[in-house]
Amino acid sequence: MTYVAAAYLVTVGILGAYALSLWLRQRSLRRPRGDGR
């Protein structure tokens, strides 16, 4: 069962990390841009 738990945690961890990276990218796209100064 340890191997099964490890495999499921790896799967959820990788997919979750990618979802988080998408959310962070989305947030940086939505952030209002300054006037360049």
């Binding site: 069962m1 191997y3 099964v4 490890a6 495999a7 499921y8 790896v10 799967t11 959820v12 990788i14 997919l15 990618y18 979802a19 998408l22 990218r25 989305q26 796209l29 841009r33 360049g36």
Partner: protein
């Protein structure tokens, strides 16, 4: 909407795999890794197929949206392929006694990971000018996908032959097959949700860069 559906379907699928699917007589509990390993493989194949088709379409039409679709799909395919390459050894250790072996299927899958790692680096570093080169790399790299699938059929490998995607039909009993198909659908849904967001982000990023500072 797709993201919400995926966020519900994946935990439900994993719970079905852990608590509802019956135990396999020969392998015991470790066989439950099948329910994350096979859906990840199927989704990675789908993602790289979309990249291949979008790359061909880009080379013919030179429309930016096909290039964006190819890049986004390859990135997500690489995520699922990473899951495959990590859950495979975790399954291999209790069943084969080794984490890794240089068997034809495992080796061709690892080669695919390196090909698309190179593809993503090429896209990241070459910018818009590299779109044509990236499309060629994706088309050539995709040739490894059928090689991976058929390597376990045509060659003597430690990795078992396909049990679901085979011409004679699935070899799994119904109670296992239903849970597996549910998980495949949940992973494909996750891929589609990620793809929709990623393609929109790339389009927005291009618009911002064209608008200037």
């Amino acid at each position: 909407m797709l993201l919400v559906l995926a966020a519900v379907a994946v935990p439900v699928g994993l719970a079905l795999a852990l608590f509802v699917a019956p135990v396999e007589a020969f392998q015991g509990e470790p066989y439950r890794i099948l329910y994350v390993h096979v859906p990840s493989v199927a989704t990675a194949y789908l993602a790289f197929t979309v990249t291949f088709a979008a790359s061909v379409a880009y080379l013919i039409t030179r429309r930016g949206r096909f290039d964006r679709l190819a890049g986004a799909s390859a990135e997500i395919g690489q995520v699922f392929l990473t899951v495959v390459l990590l859950t495979g050894p975790i399954w291999g250790k209790p069943v084969w006694g080794v984490w890794w072996t240089w068997d034809a299927r495992l080796t061709t899958a690892l080669i695919l990971w390196f090909i698309f790692a190179g593809y993503l680096m090429l896209r990241a570093w070459s910018g818009a000018q590299g779109a044509r080169a990236a499309a060629v790399v994706a088309i050539v790299g995709f040739l490894d996908v059928p090689l991976i699938h058929w390597s376990a059929v045509l060659l003597r490998t430690l990795h078992p032959r396909p049990t679901v995607f085979r011409p004679e039909g699935p070899a799994l009993p119904g109670s296992m097959l239903v849970v597996l198909l549910f998980n495949i659908a949940a992973f494909v849904l996750t891929y589609l949700a990620f793809l929709t967001v990623r393609v929109r982000q790339e389009a927005a990023r291009e618009q911002l860069s064209q608008a200037g500072p």
